[in-house]
Structure formats: structure tokens, C-alpha cells
């Protein structure tokens, strides 16, 4: 055992039993591996005898944690007989003075938990109200922009187009291409069973242009740019930049929400088109390799298989997706509270909500336009 290890020695002096405390009773020592267990065992193993004398004079060093440990062992009161150095006594006195029962953290009762279910409803309506207000503000801002187009935040707008659109081109092309290849391979297996190989053009063309391309692009952009929008605006809340804007009289909707929403509504259909083309190229390649359907046949038959109205539907749909992703991103960004935890929660909620909403709205489009283009 080392000299500095905190320990207890029981002596029997002429005036009764004596407990000598030795070693360094410091946080650094007590938190070394295994030390606390030994100390606790030796403290617990002490026989409860009245009139025992505690001798702290040979302790090498006593800090607050060591003093607290002894104080707790003494049952939060002074032992009957105690011998200390003056500064050890000062340390113990400080611990004694500040030893209070911890404030209780009030737990919620069952009734309050039941009531919190109702709070959930209020929370949802609160979100809905905020979102509605955001949309209304966006419309007002668009009117203002239409009246004075020269005063619009065009630099922000083009910057967002670049960030949301141009920088997303490689990843969306890669994902689209691979999905096209996978889809073509899977359907080719099934079509061959029926000898209906040439219908791969119809299947790929319709599913990719009408559904998969737009949804795939929207999900990717929601994860990529929706989260970025929430994080940007959220950080502005944490660093009080939003408050600074308000103080300067710069409207948040006009400068933050509108350029993002507009950029998203324009970039999203373009990205969707790009993803669809990449997926079709992948599918075309796979069809050539697996079924021997040449790219020229594929391209010639595509207009016959898929009506142009599908393209218009996809474009309109993705513009709505983009608008929704931007609005949801801004909505959660503006609701971030000035702490880092809320920022993380807001970003997560933003991505999850926007992906869910994209799929919901897509289903809505599918039902409403079921007679068009098929």
C-alpha cells in the first residue's frame, strides 16, 4: 500500500479506542480505481462504539470530497472526540455548514401525466398555427416582392439556389443512377418470365418519371438542405442574430424565409428532373445488359409509353415538395430555443417531418391525379 492511499487504522490508546485517518483524502486519490471501494469497506466495517476518538492530524491532505466522505460517515454531525489540524477543521466546518438535503425534484403525478396528453393536442395546434402564419407571411412577402422586385433579396436567393441545387447534383445523380439500375434488374427478372421484356420501357418510364424520381430527390433534399435550413436559422437564434435582425427592423420572413422557399421551389423540380434522368440512364444501361434492349429502342419508345402530362405532374409536385421542405425547415429553425440541445432536436424534427410530409403529399397527388397521364 502506498503512503498516499487514503486509509484508516484502529489503535487502542490508553484513553480508549482511536481511529487514525491516514493518506491523502483528496478527490484525485479517492477516484483512483478501487480506492473508494476499499475506503468504503473499511468505513462500513468499523464497529459502532461510543467514545471512539478520531485522529485526523496525520492526514497528508484533506480536500472537500474527503471531508464530505468523512462527514457523511459520521452521520452529518461532529463525532464526540475529534482531533484535527486547524485547516482540516476549517475544511470540515465548511462541509458541515453547506451540508443540506438536496432540493427535491418534483415528480409529475399520474393526473398531471394524463393532462399532458391534452398538452400534446395544444402543441400540435401550436405547430399548425405557426406553420399557417409562416405560409401567410410568405404570401404577403411575395406580394411585396411583386410590387417592388428591385428590392428583393436576390443575392440570398441565388446563393440558396447554388447551395440547394448546384451542390446537390453529384449525390442525387449517383443515387438516382443506382436506383435505376436496381429497379431495371429486378423488373427484368419478372418480365422475362412472361416474355414481356419490351414493357420494361413502360414500367421504368412511368415509375421513375411520375413517382420515384420526384420522391427520391425530395427525400434527399429534405435530408440535405432541410436540415441545413433549420440548423442555419437555429444557430442564428442561439447566437442572438435573429434578435439583432428584429432590432434593426429587418423582416425575418422577407430576408430568411422567402429566399429559401423560392430557391427551394425552383431548385427542387430541376433536381428532380436531373435525378429522374440519371435513374433512366441507369435503367437503360441495365436493360441493355440484361435484356438486350438497346438504348436507341428505349429512347424511341419512351415518349409512346409515358405521356408528357406525367412530366408536368412531376414538376408541379416537386415544386410543392420544395416549398414544403423549405417552410418546415424554417418553421423548426425559428422555433429553436437558445440552447444547443434544442438545436439538435429541431434539426431532427425538421428532417423527419419534411420527409413524412413529402410522402403524405405525394400520396395525395397520386389520389387526386389518378386519371391523368396513365
Amino acid at each position: 500500500m502506498e503512503e498516499s492511499t487514503p486509509r484508516l487504522i484502529r489503535d487502542t490508546a490508553s484513553d480508549g479506542p482511536c481511529l487514525r485517518v491516514l493518506g491523502r483524502w483528496t478527490a484525485a486519490q479517492l477516484t483512483l480505481p478501487g480506492v473508494w471501494n476499499t475506503v468504503e469497506t473499511s468505513l462500513a466495517g468499523l464497529p459502532a462504539e461510543a467514545g471512539v476518538r478520531w485522529d485526523l492530524r496525520d492526514v497528508q491532505r484533506l480536500d472537500h470530497l474527503g471531508a464530505q466522505a468523512l462527514w457523511n460517515h459520521w452521520g452529518r454531525r461532529w463525532p464526540e472526540r475529534l482531533e484535527t489540524q486547524p485547516e482540516q477543521r476549517a475544511m470540515l466546518e465548511r462541509v458541515a455548514r453547506f451540508s443540506v438535503p438536496p432540493p427535491t425534484l418534483r415528480r409529475r403525478t399520474l393526473w398531471e401525466r394524463f393532462l399532458s396528453l391534452g398538452e400534446l393536442v395544444f402543441k400540435v395546434t401550436d405547430h399548425a398555427q405557426d406553420l399557417l402564419r409562416l405560409i401567410g407571411q410568405l404570401l404577403l412577402d411575395l406580394v411585396r416582392l411583386a410590387r417592388a422586385p428591385g428590392e428583393g433579396p436576390w443575392r440570398d436567393f441565388t446563393g440558396h439556389i447554388y447551395q440547394i441545387g448546384a451542390t446537390a447534383l453529384p449525390i442525387t445523380a449517383l443515387v438516382g443512377f443506382l436506383i435505376g439500375v436496381v429497379l431495371a434488374y429486378l423488373t427484368a427478372q419478372q418480365l422475362r418470365l412472361f416474355g414481356a421484356e419490351i414493357f420494361i420501357v413502360n414500367i421504368l418510364g412511368l415509375s421513375l418519371i411520375r413517382e420515384l424520381g420526384p420522391v427520391l430527390a425530395a427525400v434527399l433534399i429534405a435530408g440535405r438542405s432541410g436540415s441545413a435550413i433549420t440548423a442555419q436559422i437555429g444557430v442564428m437564434r442561439v447566437t442572438e442574430e435573429l434578435d439583432a435582425m428584429r432590432v434593426m427592423g429587418i423582416p425575418q420572413g422577407f430576408r430568411l424565409v422567402m429566399p429559401r422557399a423560392m430557391a427551394m421551389a425552383i431548385a427542387m423540380p430541376l433536381i428532380s428532373l436531373w435525378t429522374t434522368v440519371a435513374a433512366l440512364v441507369g435503367g437503360m444501361l441495365a436493360a441493355d445488359l440484361v435484356l438486350g434492349i438497346t438504348p436507341s429502342y428505349f429512347i424511341n419508345n419512351l415518349p409512346r409509353a409515358v405521356m408528357v402530362s406525367n412530366l408536368w405532374l412531376a414538376t408541379g409536385k416537386t415544386a410543392v415538395f420544395g416549398l414544403l421542405i423549405a417552410l418546415i425547415g424554417c418553421h423548426y429553425g425559428l422555433r429553436v430555443k437558445p440552447n444547443t440541445e434544442s438545436l439538435g432536436q429541431g434539426t431532427t424534427a425538421s428532417v423527419v417531418t419534411s420527409i413524412t410530409v413529402v410522402i403524405l403529399v405525394d400520396a395525395l397527388f397520386a389520389v387526386v391525379f389518378k386519371n391523368i397521364g396513365i
Binding site: 483528496t26 473508494w36 491532505r61 472537500h64 470530497l65 465548511r94 453547506f98 438536496p102 432540493p103 440552447n339
Partner: protein, 283 residues
């Protein structure tokens, strides 16, 4: 193992000033160079800088803006590696300071508190102790409550989140967190910046009494001359990319250098100097 620099039992807390030179160094900086590369040009911040902080000192580092005071503090903490030179803290290189149990060697009060915003006040204070996972929860909680009250906060604030605290309270909680394992060395970055005069005074008194009672070695970076004269037992002045003087405040003021003349004997300095007559530097 604890480094051999903590005061042995029986010694009075570091209040006695005689024999200061004999006390062991806690921070030892030798031949330090800090060079920053930016846009193709090198900026030399420190050039062959030496600094020794001895046990029990309350050393203030002063210097103009951009003279590298905070950089120096970060280098002492091992957060930043100097371009050249050695930084020894408690007998070990600063780079190995941040290993397990670092909270028992050095405490740092960051300028803006740096409280973990996801934790309550009590969890923030107890964090480093709890992470070692060897003490019982009740003892950790008691130790954290003790430090909370030692920095002058009421226990009713224990379950608040950092976002609910005022600036002065954030500083106090951050100080309690830095002190949880009673480290022998405490570093302070602008401890009174952003506090109202009353809070700043209260915080100064708190720091002074902690320094006195716990025998801490303190290194402080500050621009506040009142705080400087109230607390420091020594002042180190960073100018011309090195420490031009490291001495008790009275000697520093008398040191002939244009920067010191401007810094201490300007209009603001004169006002703070009144304090010199009030506080006889016995802390």
C-alpha cells in the same frame, strides 16, 4: 498519482509571501514560440517567451488586444500546441494534461462559462466526478451541492438549466464546476467580463476567498484593472511578443516601458490605481 506540487499538510494556505521564490513552480513555460499561418503570411504572437507561475500565486496576465493572452492560457491547458518550446504544468508536459482525471489537476473558467446546455446546474458541476464512475451517487451529489453553495448560489437553483441562468450565475456555476475536484491550479479567462459592477465585486471577493482558503494557484487573464489590482499577487505583462515583466503589481507599475505607462497610467488606470491604496496585497 498527485503531482508533488500541492501544499503539504500543516502549511498554512499560500498566504505568506516571504520565500516565494522557494515555492515549486506549477506552470513553467520555456522558450515558447507561437506562430500562426494565415493567407500565406506568418504572424508571430509569442517569441521566445518564458513564464513561471509558482505555487500559491495569483498571477494576472495582461496585454493589449491580440497579444496572445488567451492563446497562452490555451497552451497551458494543452488545448493548443505551441510552435516551439515547452509548457510544463504540475511537472508534466501540458499536452498530457487532458487525460482521465484532468479535473483533479487543473480547473478552467471559460470566458462564457461553457456550461453543458443539456445538463442541469447540479449535473454540470458533478459531471467530471460522475464520469469517473467510482463514487456513490449520494457523495457526488453532496460534493456538488457543497461547491454550489461555496460559490454563493442557493440550492434552489440546483435543478435549473443553464439557459435559465443570469450571466453572473453562469460564471459562478462554471467556477463551481472547475473546482469540483479541488484542483491545485485554476485558470480564469476574463472572470468578470460581462458582469455588472456589483456581481463583479462579489465574484472578485469569492475568488479572493477561494484563493486564500484553498491555497490555489490561479492564473487569470483580464482586461479589468479593478479586478487585476484587487486580486493579483503578481502581474505578468505580455508585450513585444514576450513577458516584459512578471512581478508584484507595485513593481510592474514602476517598470519603465511605454505599454505599461499607457496601460496602467492612462485615465482608466489612474482610477483603478486608487484601489492600490485600499488593498495592501496581502492575499
Amino acid at each position: 498519482m498527485m503531482p508533488p506540487t500541492a501544499s503539504p499538510p500543516g502549511n498554512p494556505p499560500a498566504s505568506a509571501s516571504p520565500g516565494a521564490e522557494a515555492r515549486p513552480p506549477v506552470v513553467d513555460i520555456r522558450g515558447l514560440w507561437s506562430v500562426f499561418h494565415k493567407a500565406g503570411t506568418d504572424t508571430v504572437v509569442h517569441k521566445d517567451l518564458d513564464l513561471t507561475v509558482r505555487q500559491g500565486e495569483f498571477l494576472s496576465i495582461v496585454g493589449g488586444s491580440g497579444s496572445g493572452k488567451t492563446v497562452l492560457l490555451r497552451q497551458i491547458l494543452g488545448l493548443q500546441t505551441p510552435t516551439r518550446g515547452n509548457v510544463t504544468v504540475l511537472g508534466k508536459p501540458a499536452a498530457v494534461l487532458g487525460t482521465q482525471g484532468a479535473a483533479s489537476r487543473v480547473g478552467m473558467l471559460f470566458q462564457h462559462g461553457a456550461l453543458y446546455s443539456a445538463f442541469t446546474v447540479l449535473e454540470n458541476i458533478a459531471f467530471s466526478l460522475r464520469e469517473l464512475k467510482c463514487l456513490p451517487e449520494a457523495l457526488i451529489r453532496d460534493a456538488a451541492l457543497l461547491k454550489l453553495q461555496m460559490v454563493g448560489l442557493d440550492v434552489k437553483h440546483a435543478h435549473k438549466m443553464p439557459a435559465e441562468l443570469s450571466g453572473g450565475m453562469i460564471k459562478r456555476v462554471a467556477l463551481a464546476r472547475a473546482l469540483i475536484m479541488d484542483p491545485p491550479l485554476l485558470l480564469l479567462d476574463e472572470p468578470t467580463a460581462g458582469l455588472d459592477p456589483e456581481s463583479a465585486d462579489a465574484f472578485c471577493n469569492l475568488l479572493r476567498s477561494l484563493h486564500h482558503e484553498l491555497g490555489l494557484t490561479v492564473v487569470m487573464v483580464t482586461h479589468d484593472l479593478d479586478t487585476l489590482f484587487e486580486l493579483s499577487t503578481r502581474v505578468a505583462v505580455v508585450a513585444d511578443q514576450r513577458i516584459i515583466v512578471n512581478a508584484p503589481p507595485r513593481e510592474v507599475i514602476a517598470f519603465p516601458h511605454p505599454f505599461i505607462h499607457e496601460y496602467f497610467l492612462g485615465e482608466r488606470g489612474q482610477r483603478a490605481m486608487e484601489l492600490l491604496r485600499e488593498y495592501p496585497f496581502t492575499v
